[in-house]
Amino acid sequence: MTNVPILKIEHLGHAYGKFQVINDISLEIPKGELTALIGPNGAGKTTFYNVVSGRFPPSKGKVFFDGQEITGRPAHKIVPLGMLRSFQITNIFPELSVRENVLIPLLLQHRRGYTFFRPLSREKQLYQKADEVLSKIGILEYGDKPARELAYGDKRLVEMAIVLARKPKLVLLDEPTAGMNPEETERMILLIKELAERFGTTFFLTEHDMKVVFSIAKQIFVLHQGGLLATGTPEEIRASPQVREAYLGGGTIKC
């Protein structure tokens, strides 16, 4: 029976020199459960994401993806297993067209990356798939535009398209609504909800905007000073005195 959690972390820790950034984190994310990671600045969220997504290996602990151990594997070896991530600072291919941005993960997925002599334009199947992704996200009209010409919010959507092109099982979203205006944020929330429902992709996001977190997350992890402070449903987290205390120093939980 596939009740294997899509992501399982065991006693994860990472230190920069003497400074312990994250310490002894253990958690599980069931398949399809939209989960959020919150915590004040400096709590270690980005480091946590970096370690899980393969940017660098952790000092200690283990990471299991869909039952398979992936601790310490580099990003390009984790991606084919079905985990992709977005970045806090939009990470796309600015000079390439929006369509080409999405074509790249598809080429890699279908092992067409090392095709040397066929013209790219012959990859009609992949172009079709790219357009499907673009229309799902709602940016098909920009297909031919160089990605750098798009508005900030649309660029974030391009990144979403890149991340979703390979139909991943798990997507880590690092502050997906960072820098967005309320309208764009609303759009992103709806998009994530819809994609999670329609395709069963598990989204694991980290956010500062509590409105986003509380409107879509089914499970919330609270990170504080490198350790896991609390776990629970949005209601439980809202009610938790420890969480309130942790945030009193750095911020408030407005929702």
């Binding site: 997504s53 580099p74 990003a75 390009h76 991606v79 084919p80 992709l84 991530r85 970045f87 990470n91 796309i92 291919f93 600015p94 000079e95 390439l96 067209s97 080409e100 074509l103 790249i104 993960p105 080429l107 890699l108 997925q109 067409r112 990356g113 090392y114 095709t115 040397f116 002599f117 066929r118 013209p119 790219l120 334009s121 990859e123 890149i162 991340v163 092109a165 390979r166």
Partner: protein, 324 residues
């Protein structure tokens, strides 16, 4: 993707250019045939270099090393009596590609700045080997060739000592090389290469082994540099260590920057400009390098897209405003 101006005009222009190039040796004085031949070889060398700079974002200061490997491979085979030109060229390509794979493996592990330093270092290592391994390479004298294989075509046997034949042979190889590069940059791999330059982190995070991509590009560039080197050896009837000195690595760099790394034919254009400049300046003074450096400085600061790049950008902007 690189802006390819898909005007039918460009196609027609290119056909005329190729026609002109083919006809050149028949109506230009021999001196110019020689110059053109050298331009073509250097253009091929620069185009191979631009696969790294313009397309993968890698600035290599050691391409002359692979150029030299190709030259020496050709020279050694000819001295051993090999007669098949195509095989000689092929061995030139493969030996240079082999050197590139080995050296590239060490270089692609680090990024831009380190990459520049290390490629310079290893390029000079190859120079040092060529300079000192007298038994194999003839040391600083190099390997002069008394005889060249003849060019065998169905029904013809042409001597490469005839400047016209040599030039047309070079032109043929050049066109083949350019065609190969053209297909390469238009292929899926070409897009991946551009992605490496654009945002290698994002590329890794969509599943590409960036090191492997870079190594592949480096190997192909090295192989084509070797092809140019082998041609150069035939052209000069010799192979010398100078071909591998970093000052030779500087040539494709300068030609590419002059012409423009952002346009497919930029480096070839730059090669032509470079040689024309050389002709002009050496008439006035002996001090060529200082002028080169002095020209390069404002180009790098004010015209980073190079001459052809600036022209193309101008026409693209014209097109944009026309559309509006």
């Amino acid at each position: 993707m690189k802006k390819q101006p898909n005007y039918p005009k460009t196609g027609i222009f290119l056909i005329f250019l190729i026609g002109f190039l083919i006809g050149c040796p028949f109506f230009l004085p021999t001196y110019w045939t020689f110059i053109l031949g050298e331009i073509l070889i250097m253009a091929l060398f620069s185009m191979s270099f631009n696969l790294l700079l313009g397309y993968s974002g890698l600035l290599s200061f050691g391409q002359a090393g692979f150029f030299g490997v190709g030259a020496y491979a050709a020279a050694l085979l000819i001295l051993k009596g090999w007669q098949s030109l195509s095989l000689i060229l092929l061995v030139g390509v493969f030996s240079a590609a082999l050197a590139a794979v080995v050296i590239g493996f060490l270089c692609v592990r680090r990024d831009e700045i380190y990459f520049a330093m290390i490629t310079l270092g290893f390029g000079m290592m190859l120079f040092t080997i060529a300079h000192n391994w007298i038994e194999l390479t003839g040391g600083s004298d190099g390997l002069p060739l008394a005889a060249l294989p003849t060019l065998r075509l169905p029904g013809l046997e042409l001597s490469l000592f005839d400047p016209r034949n040599m030039y047309l042979f070079i032109l043929a190889v050049f066109l083949a090389g350019i065609f190969l590069l053209w297909r390469l940059v238009r292929s899926p791999f070409g897009l991946i290469l551009t992605a490496v330059r654009e945002n290698k982190e994002r590329l890794a995070f969509v599943g590409a082994d960036v090191r492997m991509v870079r190594l592949t590009a480096f190997t192909i560039a090295g192989g084509l540099a070797g092809l140019s080197g082998a041609l150069f050896c035939l052209f000069n009837s010799m192979a010398t260590p100078d071909f591998m000195h970093w000052s030779y690595s500087a040539r494709p760099i300068l030609m590419t920057i002059l012409g423009g790394s952002g346009v497919f034919l930029g480096p070839a254009f730059g090669a032509a400009v470079f040689f024309l400049l050389e002709q002009v300046i050496t008439h006035i003074t002996d001090n060529w390098m200082i002028f080169l450096g002095a020209i390069l400085i404002p180009v790098v600061i004010f015209f980073p897209q190079g001459i052809l790049g600036t022209i193309v950008k101008y026409f693209d902007r014209e097109q944009e405003t026309d559309r509006q």
